[in-house]
């Protein structure tokens, strides 16, 4: 066996002592989940965005839908849930990414918690805004 002996571990500097700041105060119970979420939502965004782009720009004469075309598009019973899902997922993905960038500025654990809460609120507000907008357009005679 070439691994360290208990005698070595017990000695000062003998191992397992990480710099204090490395050991987080609260260990994340499921580390890597945030990263996995970003990958999963990213994949969903890719699919939905491709549909969104093709439907809104590439198959339309002139590249952009006018008002009537927009209304016709979103009242489609397949498109409406897809566009709603797209809104939910893309804003999640974007805000989670922005949160990671903000965390790179080296915030305290408390500041990180505040940022997270603010972002949840922003995310919910985005969904409310989008859904309201869709509701107005779909229900307009």
């Amino acid at each position: 066996m070439t691994g360290p002996t208990d005698e070595l571990r017990a000695a000062p500097g003998g191992g397992r002592e990480l710099p204090e700041r490395w050991a987080p105060e609260e260990r994340d119970t499921l580390p890597g989940v945030g990263w996995a979420w970003q990958a999963i939502t990213g994949a969903l965004v890719l699919v939905l965005l491709t549909l969104h782009m093709i439907a809104n720009h590439f198959v339309v004469q002139g590249g952009l839908r006018d008002y009537q075309q927009v209304i016709a598009y979103i009242t489609n019973p397949i498109i409406l849930p897809l566009e709603t899902l797209f809104l939910v997922v893309v804003s999640w993905h974007g805000l989670l990414g922005l949160r990671a960038v903000i965390f790179d500025f080296g915030l305290s654990a408390r500041a990180e918690r505040i940022v997270t809460r603010v972002f949840v609120v922003v995310w919910l507000a985005t969904i409310v805004y989008g859904v309201t907008l869709l509701a107005i357009l779909v229900t307009r005679p």
Binding site: V90, G94, F105
Partner: protein, 147 residues
Amino acid sequence: MTDRTAPTGRTALPDATAPSSARRRGVAGWVDVRGRRLGGWAFILNRVTGLGVLFYLYLHLLVLSQLAIGPGAWDSLLKNWFLNPVFLVLDVVLLAGLLIHGLNGIRVSLVGFGLVVSRQKALLGAFGTIGAIVLLIGTLMFISHGG
């Protein structure tokens, strides 16, 4: 002469481990591209395009509120602004951003889940090529729409 003297048997040297100056670059670390290789560029571009596209997303949502005002507001916006050649250029920039972020995202996800790790460089090259081709086609389509 000497600013630190010690009686016999005592040392008076400074604590060498006290960091005098942290050389952690901080956020500058991912903006500073000097000496970076392709993967470093991908990392930086991923962040820059991510921020840019997020900014666009909210701008887009804001603009869509014109739809709620009515047909007149939206169609005049369309005619006066979005079909303008300047906006077509911005569309190309947006498409480039989406392609960089999306393709790099696929690469990071695949490699990050432990797949294609040994061929990650080839993957980077392949995605770069795919992105360039799609951007070219997209640009041509924008131009044809504008014309």
